[in-house]
Each structure stands twice: as C-alpha cells, then as structure tokens.
C-alpha cells in the first residue's frame, strides 16, 4: 500500500489541514517512508487475537443522572476567537 499525491490530498482534506500543491509530493514520500516501516506488523500472527483498545481491565463506570455542571456561559465562550451574545461564531455556512 503506497500513498500517492491524490491520496495525501484526500487525507489532508479529511484532517482539515491545508497543504500546498508543491508539498503534496514530499509529504507522500514522508508518509510512505513511515507506512513502509509499519508494514512489518504483517509478520505478526494475529489470527484469533482480539484488538486491544484499552489497557484498563475494569468495567465502564456509570454516572448518576444529576445536573452537576454547566451554567457558566462566560467561562465557555471566554477563549473564543469569534462570537457574540453568548454564541460562538463561524464564517456563514450555507446549507
């Protein structure tokens, strides 16, 4: 599996990172270098092995259904680079 320029552009779009056209090719090379090295995982026999998504050997804890948080709009929007009247704001989205 090898990434071409178009795939890098697609992935960069999914990740919402702007990459200049001229940088696509070098980026593809860098990523292929890493992915090529990762290929060695194919040597490991993982038949009948469950993927390990968490190392914590415990059950998920549940929270009681109580209102214990929120109610501090000033704190929530304090760091926002845009917005007014308690709202966040982004460039107009046309649906």
């Amino acid at each position: 599996m090898s990434l071409d320029k178009a795939t890098v552009a697609k992935v960069a779009n999914l990740a919402r990172i702007k990459i200049e056209e001229k940088d696509l090719e070098p980026m593809a090379a860098e990523l292929n270098n890493i992915l090529g090295w990762v290929e060695q995982l194919g040597e490991v026999d993982t038949d009948n092995v469950e993927p390990m998504t968490s190392v914590a050997e415990m059950r998920l804890r549940w929270r009681a259904d109580e209102v214990t948080d929120g109610g501090y709009v000033e704190d929530v929007v304090a760091n926002a680079p845009g917005g007014e009247d308690g709202y966040f704001a982004v460039p107009k989205v046309i649906e």
Binding site: K18, V49, Y72
Partner: protein, 492 residues
Amino acid sequence: MSDLTKLTIAAARDGLAKGDFSSRELTAAHITAMTASKPLNAYITETPEQAVDAATASDARRAKGEAGKLEGIPLAIKDLFCTKGVLTTAASHILDGFTPHYESTVTANLWGAGAVMLGKVNLDEFAMGSSNETSYYGNVVNPWRRDGDESALVPGGSSGGSASAVASFSAMGATGTDTGGSIRQPASFTGIVGMKPTYGRCSRWGVVAFASSLDQPGPMARTVRDIAIMLESMAGFDAKDSTSVNMPVPNFENALTGDIKGLRIGIPKEYRIDGLSDEIDALWQKGIDWLKDAGAEIVDISLPHTKYALPAYYIIAPAEASSNLARYDGVRFGLRVEGKDLNDMYASTRAEGFGDEVKRRLLIGTYALSAGYYDAYYLKAQKVRARIAEDFRQAYLNVDAILTPTAPSAAFGFGEKGDDPLEMYLNDVFTVPASLAGLPGISVPAGLSKEGLPLGLQLLGKPFDEETVFRVAGVLEEAAGFTAKPTDWWRG
C-alpha cells in the same frame, strides 16, 4: 544559607518542617534559578508572582499546623496540564492565548497537597516528539553538555522542559506525561528520575490529550524518593476520567525498603537490539550485577513481540491523536485563521497552527483510520498490541520486575536526527512496549557515557505494582550512586 535549590524534595520537606527555612525562601531561590535558566528555554510561562503568593499561603498553612504532603515545595508543570487562569499551550501555536477556566485533576491534587507552581514548562508540540525540537516555543536545551564540547544537546522529549528544569535545579520536581516514553527518555537524557505510573493511576482529566489509551501523567524529580513523594499526591481515583482506576493510593515512600532479596528481575533478550552501543550494553550489565549483588534473582525472559511495538505505536498513537486533535478548529479557543468559508477556516487554521511533526502524525492517523485501511493498519496494530501485552503478562508470571536500558543512546545534538522521522522514533524503542501494555516504568540515572552524559536504566513493573518498581529503583539508585551534575554554564 546553603543553596536551597540543591535540596531534594525529601530534604526540603524536612527542612520546612523543622523551620530551617520557609516556603517563601525556598520558592524565591527557585524563582531566581528559573530566571537564570532562560538559556535553557525550559519554561514557556513563568508565574513567579503566583508562586510567591502560593508560598506565602503555604507558610501560613504550615503555621496553622495544616501542612500537606508537598507543603511549600516549588514545582514546574508541563504545559500540557490545564491550569486555571494560566496560559496553557501544549507548545502549539494552535492554542494561542488559551487560558483554561478549569484546573487539571493532577495539578489540583498537587496544590491540594500544598505544592507551589513556578511556571509551565516546555515540551514537544502536543507531546509529539522525543527531543523537544517540535515546540512552537522553541527548543529546550539540555543542561548537560558533552565533556569539552559546548554544543547544545536535546533534553529528550516530550517532557523536555520538565527534565531540563529539574536537572538545572530550577524546580525541585515537575509533572510530565508519558505516552510512549515522554517521561522516561528525557529523564534518562538529563540524569534525573522519571516515572510513568500504571495507566489509570493518575487522572487524565484536564491534561491535553495526545493518545487517550496511552497518555499517563507522572512525576519527574532528582531522586527515587522524591518521585515516590510526588506520585502519592498526584495519583488517585477521579470520577471525571472513565479510565481512572478506583484503587487506594499506597504510601509509595514506604516501599523504599532497600531490600530486594529474593525478588525476581527479568532481563528480556529482545531488548538487546542490533546496534545497541557497547556502553549502553555495559551499563545494563552493571545494573544486572547491582541487583544481583543486592540479593535479587536475575531471570532471562523473552518478550517476543518487542520489535513490533514501535510500528504498532506509530499507528495507534497517531490514529487516536487524529481524532483527539480535531477539536483544535479555531472556533472555541486558540488560533483562528480566517478563510473564505468554514472548511477553509478549519484547514487554514490547522495548517498554520500545527507544526510539521504534528501534521505528519495527524495525516498518518487519519489515513490509518480511513475506509479501506482501518483493518490493515489500526486494527492490525491493536491486535499486535494485544500480543505485546500478553508477552508481559506471561513474563510477569515468572518475574516481579523487568530491567532494561531506558533509551538506546545518550542525549544527542540538535538536528542530528532531523531528516528521517523513523530515526527519531527509534528513541522510544525501550519505552514504548510498556506504554502499549499500560505498565508502570521508571528511569533511574545509572551512569555516564564516555562523553560524560547521563544514561538511565529502566525498571518495569506489574500493573498497579508501582511499589515493587520503587523498591527495586531505590536499590538501583543506591548502587549506581549517581552524583554527577551538569556544570551551570547557562548562568553565564
């Protein structure tokens, strides 16, 4: 009065208790040291006024007989921990100006124990790096230099600022976070002690996330005892973190008995990697001998999937990061670069806000999770991870702890490993396997390289058995008798 910055946390604690000096005095000495350490660029944000206020309050508490376990001890905080009212950057341009309105659980625990914050220390951007060369706020410099050579060396990473601050005596201890070795490797590079606790021991709440299934906060200080003292205050169950384990926190200091007779120490043959330098190999052998001399039984063990840990890690961590870092979008906090529409704003903000290494990992991670590649990369890596964890489980049926080198080399110069990311990734070869398995690990300074640079040995333990790790580490530290200090060239 002698130089208070040279004290260990344990000694300072005793001195404060006896009234030999106040937290104000101790803190003032460290503020002076912090200011003098600017050439090291260890701190991103210094908070001397707040430190003085906190020290004053600490002295008042002590006067009332309300001293906590870290009462009056000045510490540096890795700038990945959110601190209420204090700029928190993750060393990234994208968090420009971000001032949290909340305090991370770990730092809140420290303040609750009486500790004093000196400032926020530098790191690799979003903790992604092994040399502290990826910070938006510039490189951190290692206080150590090669004998007869004035060229600057890296402090390791990602907790490089923490390591540099502690090694340069501008903080008595520091918080770090370890995802694949980010506490242990810089500890090794700077001649200090650093511990990654068991995953779930310290709360991740309020710590800027890199890779959620791997991230774990931990302490960095100059002695094993200091680490034990710090961890006891940092750790503990947190209902706000679903992966925090509800277990009592032992008195870790009590684990430092000095007695390891009959303990079985595993030596994994797979860590004897190709091209391991003779001096690292020799140091490892010394460590084995020290423990054997102290009465431990040395057992050769096998961790067969060790070599696959790094490639698995470099899929899993970026995959999680690609999702964790999606929230940096210019909407609610941090940097915003305007664009012609919403998506353009996102893409421009993230292009300008993230550095090259972060971008590289986000792209790898996005690709590894994308349709058609998920099974081949992410799922495969998580299965390999399961096999690595199983290796450890098997080994621990037979041994109590495992001894390995911490890093494959001593600290290196800036730009020496710049071109090929893979060369940099290899720094984590000995630390990553335990991260994938969620195990506790400590790096203890054990000797100097031929060039006069510190080298660390790593001890790994069973899940939630930090006590055995501390016990062995105490003996290792004692035997190594590492007393070397960097010359304080940065004071000019």
